[in-house]
Amino acid sequence: MSYKPQLTGSWWLKHRFFKAYMLREATVIPLAFLLCSLLAGAFSLQDPERFQHWQAFMSNPLVILVHTLALTTSLYHAATFFVLFPRVMPIRVGNYQLPARYLVLAQWGAVWLVVALFIWLFAFGGQS
């Protein structure tokens, strides 16, 4: 005769560690919205009138708010992912184990490289 408590749907509210995990997983929601917006933008290119509608949609303050949220939550997701990465793929050179913090730094370095590339493309039109 034994009993076994069942896990309820609110299990993740019991500890801050689980809440942080759920937050990490929830970052996909604003990101999905951003992707849908971009996809709609791509389709609206076929027709000038629709493109104007899309531009109006994109400048709606509420939409801008969700997109800013998508950026910040994606950065949070990236931060959690970058820390996990060296644990999933430890890099070993011969007998030397590369310290995790170098891998984390290298990943942020790659992010800044991409950001710099976009700034260069948009601000200077690709010309220096």
């Binding site: 034994s2 076994k4 408590p5 560690f17 997983e25 644990r87 999933v88 793929m89 430890p90």
Partner: protein, 247 residues
Amino acid sequence: MRSIQVLRYLPEESPQPFLQSFQVPVTDSTSVLDALNYIKESLDPTLSFRWSCRMAICGSCGVMVNGIPKLGCKDFLRNYPNDLIIEPLAHLPVERDLVVNMDSFLRHLEAVKPYLIEGKNAADSSQPNRQTPAQMARYQQFANCINCGLCYAACPQFGLNPEFTGPAAIALAHRYNLDSRDSGKAQRMAPLNSKNGVWSCTFVGFCSEVCPKGVDPAAAVNQGKVESAKSMLIQLFSGRAIGGAGQ
């Protein structure tokens, strides 16, 4: 003296578990296990719980302390100045008081064949099977597991699906897969590739937080995903059926 609460379960007296308060003496070095032993010796001899080494090596004293899986002998009352509630390990059937049924945990451990399997990497068995310190360093962290089961009590995926192979068993499989003397990786990949294997993990990561031996089972499980992806690709291209799907 201070008061602590213990979740009791005495099936012959009541079908429901209930909380009971006890007054126990405390010093700076009173562990949760010391408190339980005091209760059993001086207050209520019917209290049931497991322990043996009282030095974090046998892995038998796991309990939930204020909802977090802990080794009773490695956790101290001084860490809990306010309330302190001791409950049986989560996600496992409770037999009596703090005694849980570990059968499903043991079954998962067995399923991954946690021992050296002879084959092309094993030396002739009449010879010593040598290993360099560098070869040992590759798996040593995962060999520190004491099978306490705290990681299973921390894992919501195991709580939702008891068929999930789970952190410690996958860490142990990974430990033998990384061992230069072992040749059993192909056999172990079958349960790891299955739907209750590594892919049931969503990297919540709490298992590694609660592990009292620094094993980092979450890292092992997710390194196992990389290995599983590799082994499934190899099987796909070599045209063989994917082994172990559904075991």
